[in-house]
Symmetry: D3
Subunit: 240 residues, 6 copies
């Protein structure tokens, strides 16, 4: 099975870290290809960065044949559009983490990077229906690329936020709200005594699951393939 | 007052029609500039077209100073990102129509173009909170550009759908779910005996309203200005 | 265009202040008539005051021809009944503020006068669907008529509550929850660095908007004109 | 125990019928006093009639000492205001029927008189939280006073609507949506083979229940006693 | 009228206390029989205890003819199953307390025994639709059987939690979340100045109410009588 | 990895079919043990059957060590209690199907066996938050054990219901609402042209996923291990 995991930002070191995290949980027969587009923001922190990452993301999905795709941004950037351009299942790491957390705990809290990302995550939770399972979305106020910096105190700030979530939110599990936190889940879980879910690993498992089930994205409704039509200007060659 | 209305698709004839509709309801002191980006799909019918229209949309907003902006696609394509790149208020024609309808009727039904567009509209209604006011989102199964074709039977199909909505949905008003239907609202309202709301006109009024109130988009939370950072590849020059 | 703004309480000085606030934002061609009924409570603070203000409110609406009406009590007292007695649009200042705030911010908090008014406002938010957009309804514990008293510390208490809302509610805008706060919005917005919405001004803009759009209240469903029937006793002459 | 049941419309024959229905289910030690105000509409069919019935309703409650009050209009007209003017519990027949139905069935449908009354009932269900238990609110299109006319075919139309509700709504019980239907419940239940709940009887039982429990309406929050203040004009003597 | 109240745990002293509390509020013509099954947990504190109490509970209901049944565990353990095995109404003390509180207050908070019981109560509130009326579910961290111990400080801890609920939840009434607290309601209500509702007493009143109304549980939908079929092993004789 | 799948009814042929379906999708290194309790109903069709199946289900889980457990009844019978008696993850086939369907389609409809099972499934969807993703729960009116009978027309009735769901519900995927339908999913998906999800296969994949992720059920909140206490009578030896 071949899974392509797309980091929709253009920071190759983060792509490598995500790829390693993904491969480490993948099954024996699963090949994980981690890619990022050449075009777009070096990190995704808010709606504007999201918008500029989607054309590159869709191009990677179209370029890379795969049994399933993973979008490795916690905002599930471009998820609906991606589902329209391929029959193969597409999993967002945000939704993956929410679904897995829902199997292990009544309510979970999310710890993301920056406050500005909270509304987009809350919108996704409402869209997925899983806002009812989420106690609170919190921000550790750690910029995304600081997670790549071994000298940063990001881990401490995340740990502090987890303790506050346990005390104040009545949450039973933690979802880590950024692909760049993928390497922290196991040790945080041990330290804080509750399930801590990383979306990258969760998405690999769910992607393998839907492929093993022989299921494809529905072609009815919103995920129907795009209608053939001209695109103009710099997107002309990306027309459906 | 200067209002820039951006048609996020690249069909100039539709932009002209939208601009005329907008100017016709604007106040005496309001200058309406209707533009469309050079890059992107010729019509927006689903998530993929949406994704490729946003970079062009944001470029138009950055290029054109204005007291307020209107996004003239009923999906409110790129609305959140647009709100981050300018302090001036940004109004989507979808949200505008929903808010105006809520002032005139307990419940409204939406008539959009194609079924594939229904889920995105439903998601927006949930995000805005106004799903509770919407009886049903319906599709007349009319492609967007057919609305530009005077020989099409699009108007008949829309009228049929309105009658079905009145009979089956217990709706008290109709929202027209495409910028290309802007010229139909008044006659449909007379014919069917209930308020029929066009989002383009509604958005012009709401844009004028927020400007007159001296209000700007909040810079707290999700609409904070984008963080300065490099963008790579073909989007390098569009970095915040 | 002629807009009649009805202060449903009987305090003429408050009516004058509301009228001045309304006229100051109205367009050049808009005549604003501010009235209050002769019968009823001197201020509206809870369900009983509301109940006794509605007959007078309806009488004013029937007596005064207008292109649109505004109900200048934040509880939107009598709004549904008012919509039944006239085809002209009727806008409540509460709903107006909520809709305008929703165009500028993801979530807003409301600062009203007294705690006893919070449940009615929360009910309205649920009825309108906009509870999902409201972070919290707060009370500054300022009686309505104290807002008319220049020596009161009402402004300070409101400012304190705004700061608490910013810190604790993750709100991105503030809605002022009383017609008597109409004169405070602009300076509070500057001081606290977020949009502060006054319902009186918001309602004037929305009333002008729906009139400019040529729209009337729906006659289907709950806002159908009242059925002709006898009323007895002191209300005999107010029968539909 | 003394229960005052107020028919908020001014039709004495309907008050008598309601009183008889109420007394017939009341306990041995319960005295039921059925009254109606002298002022207001002869029937309540929509928001305007509601508005003009509340001052008379409140006057009756203040005039008549009681251990508990019942408001015998299915819209629960003036319920919140009534709870403020007396410590004794006040029960609306609409809420009473919904609560009792929720003890006997997963979901219920409501059969009311006229379509125009549906939105107010739906708002109440949302306010009470019991919209989740209601499959559908239906109208038999029977004016209220036609229920007083023994030659009308109202009973047939209600029966037809119940059969449609059973077939289409997956409802497990029926709530009769008008005080004037109080005498029909038992026979409809036998005929249609499911619980049919009349709000008048339900309210009598719930009023007796809360009195037996020694409970009073909360004085905190929205039901706090009205603040002392002047009322002007024809309501001057009804000031709190 | 004969009401059987089943304490689904096997602690006879608690059954006796519940029975006395129930009889004390019952009407003159009501015989209250308090029973508990011989099989199962000595107290119900969480999902596992619930599961093992239901077969005994159902056996008691089948064994004891009654006009109505009450399930005297605040989790409403086995309520749906119980409604299938008898036509007579079955009332849970949890739902009873929520419904009665909703007649007296806009919002209530619940004080239960242990944190582990909170999620089950929250699920019930969502299922009943009354989560919208509940400000917060709180735990006093008092094990169930400690309520039977006169030397415990349980009452103090409950009082403390009520004061916190008043200060922080904006609640207008308190629901006591355990059958073992039945004897505390009246004095807590006096001390804390708001309605305090005990589910045992509430359920007796509601059981009497539905019997007086001549109503039975619906046989349509989920409460249909169980289909005849073999049960195997130790439950063979309990097959429907 | 060792997965124990418990069929909570006592029909061994159905257990065998479920076991075969589960093993057929399990990974190479996964051993699937399918068991059923000796005690309880031969099929689960409604709340009473559910109640009598849980003690046997819990006993099987305690008796059989495993890396993960699956409850093979679409009602997710006993799921919460099961999560308390083991640290290993426990997956219900109902929730599994809902979560997998949510990754492939905007909205799904459920086709279950009998109408009486619909309310329990709807309650679960609300509890999980995924009611927002479910277009409708439908019943093919096929008793569970008829699915074991090769001469029955069950498959035809299910196919008919799927076509009605596609036409009327705007659903984009189908969830099969009974473990006994596990063998039908693939062919129904091909025939009807949309994803058809079987909960047994979905649960196997999710169980493998959470085990591969190294995650356990949270011990905080509702899934805390049961408190040690006596159980009496026939359940004495099953005390925690």
């Amino acid at each position: 099975m071949r899974i392509v995991i797309v980091n929709p930002n253009t920071t190759a070191s983060m792509t490598a870290k995500i790829g390693a995290a993904a491969q480490s949980v993948a099954g024996a027969g699963t090949e994980v290809i981690a890619v990022n587009p050449p075009d777009g923001p070096v990190s995704i922190e808010g709606y504007v960065d999201e918008a500029y990452s989607v054309p590159g993301l869709l191009a990677e999905i179209r370029r890379q044949p795969a049994d399933a795709y993973i979008i490795a941004c916690f905002d599930d950037t471009g998820l609906e559009a991606a589902r329209c351009v391929t029959e193969s299942p597409v999993i967002g790491i945000g939704e993956a983490a929410f679904h897995i957390a829902s199997l292990l705990a009544g309510k979970f809290s999310v710890i993301t990077t920056l406050s500005r990302s909270i509304p987009a995550i809350e919108h996704n939770l409402v869209k997925y229906g899983l806002d009812r399972r989420c106690a609170k979305v919190r921000a550790a106020e750690v910029p995304v690329l600081e997670l790549e910096d071994p000298t940063s105190d990001a881990a401490t700030r995340i740990a502090t936020e987890i303790e506050q979530a346990k005390a104040a939110d009545r949450c039973e599990a933690i979802v880590l709200g950024c692909a760049g936190m993928a390497d922290l889940a196991a040790s945080l879980s041990r330290t804080h005594g509750l399930p801590v879910i990383d979306g990258v690993a969760a998405a690999v498992e769910l992607a393998e699951s839907v492929v093993a089930l022989g299921l494809k994205t529905s072609r009815l409704g919103g995920y129907a393939p795009p209608r053939a039509k001209p695109y103009t200007g710099r997107f002309a060659r990306e027309a459906p």
